[in-house]
Symmetry: none
Amino acid sequence: MGRRKVEIKRIQDKNCRQVAFCKRRKGLLKKAKEISVLCDVDVAVVIISNRGRLHEFSSNNSLTEILQRYESHVEAEKENSAEIQVPEHSKYSGFTTMGELLQTTERQLEETNDDGLAVTDLIHLENELQTALIQVRSRKTHLLLESAKGLHEKEKLLQEEKKHLEDNIASIKKNREVNEMSTDFADFPAPHIICGQQRMTLNFL
Amino acid sequence: MGRRKVEIKRIQDKNCRQVAFCKRRKGLLKKAKEISVLCDVDVAVVIISNRGRLHEFSSNNSLTEILQRYESHVEAEKENSAEIQVPEHSKYSGFTTMGELLQTTERQLEETNDDGLAVTDLIHLENELQTALIQVRSRKTHLLLESAKGLHEKEKLLQEEKKHLEDNIASIKKNREVNEMSTDFADFPAPHIICGQQRMTLNFL
DNA sequence: CCGGCTATATATAATGT
DNA sequence: TACATTATATATAGCCG
């Protein structure tokens, strides 16, 4: 898909790998969005780079919900094939990363051994962390509030709809009562009125 | 990407949508596999078709593990494992967690610190601030998720209630229709037709 | 409904800035 | 370093059997 064909195996050059990751990540997330819209399906994509950074897409905005549905699927299949699941996830699962971290740390210490550059860099690092924390928190809050807002609106709509349906039932029942009491149908409720009421109800769709 | 450009919106024709789903699903899973191999990252893709069928890809064999890592990213339940995204441009963006980053920071400070404790104290303060932030965020996230969950349940309940009311209306209408037909009012402006239309309309509720 | 075909739209590897 | 461009590889929409 580029100037030349590339084999599908780990890209050796670190820089190329990172660039490819950025491009393909963008592409993958775009495709996920497209299929979710075009085909009206729920899609969740989670990407965790080897440096531990998270990227995600989910078609509705609650990835958790999709994952719960996934879990229920898995549970259902588990019942068929009674496999014993060994909990892979332990507090030691990040051991390799820790090793890398120590290596990186040592390297940085060697490089900045003589002057006070390390401290300056680390203070800068602190600032970046703070900013990142604020940004991430803000964004998540925003998303959750949006979601909650949407649900509140939905609830309100449904409440109104319910009320109209109840009114509808009440009036129908009342009309029927009147009908049954009269021997001639002279005062049969004009059907167009009922129609009107129901159209009103339909406005809430 | 085909004979003609297609807008990214729900495909109306059911058959076309299903065909597109099959093709694009295959493509999406292939791309997920490619990026995971080429760029050496963990990728999880979950697709749930609107017919409830599940399709998935995960780079390592345990999607559950990736999802757990995702959970730990999002929920940040444990203070020490709170994983926060670091800005892409940072030269320190090689660390898995904010906690690890801060640990590293502290270690580097200790090992390079010849002149006073001010910076160390400040870093410690940063740490405390961050711990507080993480705790508050975690609790807020929890509360919001709880709230959203409750609203979802409320919505479901209302939907069911609505359905009952609709059924109620339908049966009332039907009964009245039967009554009217048995009373032999041939010249009355055929109410049953109107009723029929109304039932039809109500199906869309 | 499925799988293959082909023209075309997209994605992206390499390159340029 | 990152972003824009370009040439090419891929993905896929509409068809056909």
